[in-house]
């Protein structure tokens, strides 16, 4: 269902509102925000990055249904670097399937600037998420509580 996003919009607290532990999240377990493509579609690049980083800095795992464009990924790395601080935030772990985007785009898509970025993306705090295995078809990660 388009727009169906657990923990995002509608009921409960949206990511980035600072209430992760109030709604039964991070003290006892790991909160996962699954954000639909529809939810991300109306946001600017910086709004998407803010949404992701605010969630991750609270200790949440953010799963994007459709991922980010290469340009947004580049800016996500850049902004993440500016926010790293000793003993507080060491950065992010991000995982997507390796996908040759250029080969997936039609000529018309390229001409119109449409991105075929539809790739499930998992992002979490670097100190809580660890990649165990990754290949073209499988991403296996270990998520720790703290």
């Amino acid at each position: 269902m388009p727009g169906s996003t657990p923990n995002v919009g509608g009921g409960g607290s949206p990511p980035g509102d600072g209430r992760a532990s109030d709604d039964g999240g991070s003290d006892d377990g790991v909160r996962i925000d699954m954000i639909s493509g529809a939810r991300m579609e109306g946001l600017t690049g910086m709004e998407k990055i803010r949404l992701i980083l605010d969630g991750v800095r609270e200790g949440n795992i953010v799963i994007l249904e459709e991922g980010l464009s290469p340009d947004e990924e580049s800016k996500l790395i850049e902004v993440t670097m500016t926010e790293i601080s000793p003993d507080d935030f060491t950065g992010i772990e991000i995982e997507t399937y390796p996908k040759a985007e250029a080969t997936d785009q039609s000529f018309l898509d390229k001409l119109m600037g449409r991105k075929s970025a539809q790739k499930l993306t998992v992002i979490g705090p670097a100190n809580r998420i660890e990649t165990l295995h990754k290949d073209e078809n499988l991403i296996s990660t270990l998520v720790s509580r703290k």
């Binding site: 990924e73 580049s74 790395i77 500016t82 000793p86 991000i94 040759a100």
Partner: protein, 213 residues
């Protein structure tokens, strides 16, 4: 008057284009930390200019500022290619100062190094989006290429339509597996080399002239 102005503008655009074509291309050397980017940059710079670009180290994030070596003239098959080499900090999504404590550093030095490293990575990403005309992507052929940083950076480079040459470095080491890199990025040509030992540099220079000339 309008006609003359238009004519002048047209001539100006043509001459600007001619001079722009002669300007050195800025080629960014990118890759994850410890892939051998600075070793390669130094190898290229020493081979063609006699100077080095910067210090090399086994400690990650030795390069924390993008460094440029200008007007490196490479001659191949009677053809001369002039490039500016931009040696960039290794790209990563995380930097923890505690990792530097294992390299004989006290906390203050480790924190300073991590702060400089984060600034350097941000700068490298900015260069990639705005300021390079082509990319040499360096990978350590003894390590798994299926990492997120590699996947993202190759995707970013492709989305910018930048010419990219993938180099499988450290072939002098016993665990080197060039084929693994070729399999990870089949849409690109992979050239094996040892920047440290200078192995296969002839092919690297031929490819640089071909890709960026």
């Amino acid at each position: 008057m309008g006609l003359l102005t238009n004519l002048k503008d047209s001539i100006s655009r043509v001459t600007d284009g001619l001079f722009a074509a002669d300007e050195p291309k800025r080629i960014g050397i990118y890759g994850p930390p410890n892939a051998g980017k600075t070793t390669l940059a130094n190898r290229i710079a020493r081979d063609w200019t006699g100077d080095a670009v910067g210090p090399e180290s086994h400690i990650p994030h030795e390069t924390r500022r993008a460094r440029r070596k200008e007007n490196v003239e490479i001659e191949r098959n009677g053809r001369k290619v002039t490039i500016d080499i931009v040696d960039t900090p290794g790209v990563t999504t995380k930097v923890d100062y505690k990792e530097f404590l294992d390299h004989d550093m006290d906390k203050d030095d480790a924190v300073r190094r991590s702060r400089e490293a984060t600034e350097g990575v941000a700068e490298a990403m900015h260069w990639l989006r705005e300021d390079v005309d082509g990319v040499i992507y360096v990978l350590d052929s003894t390590t798994d290429p299926f990492t997120q940083v590699n996947t993202m950076l190759i995707g970013i480079i492709e989305s910018q339509d930048l010419p990219a040459l993938i180099l499988a470095n450290k072939t002098d080491l016993s665990g080197s597996d060039v084929q693994q890199i070729a399999n990870a990025f089949p849409q690109h040509e992979t050239i094996p080399l040892s920047a440290l030992e200078g192995e296969n540099m002839d092919e690297v220079y031929t490819k640089i002239a071909e890709y960026f000339g």
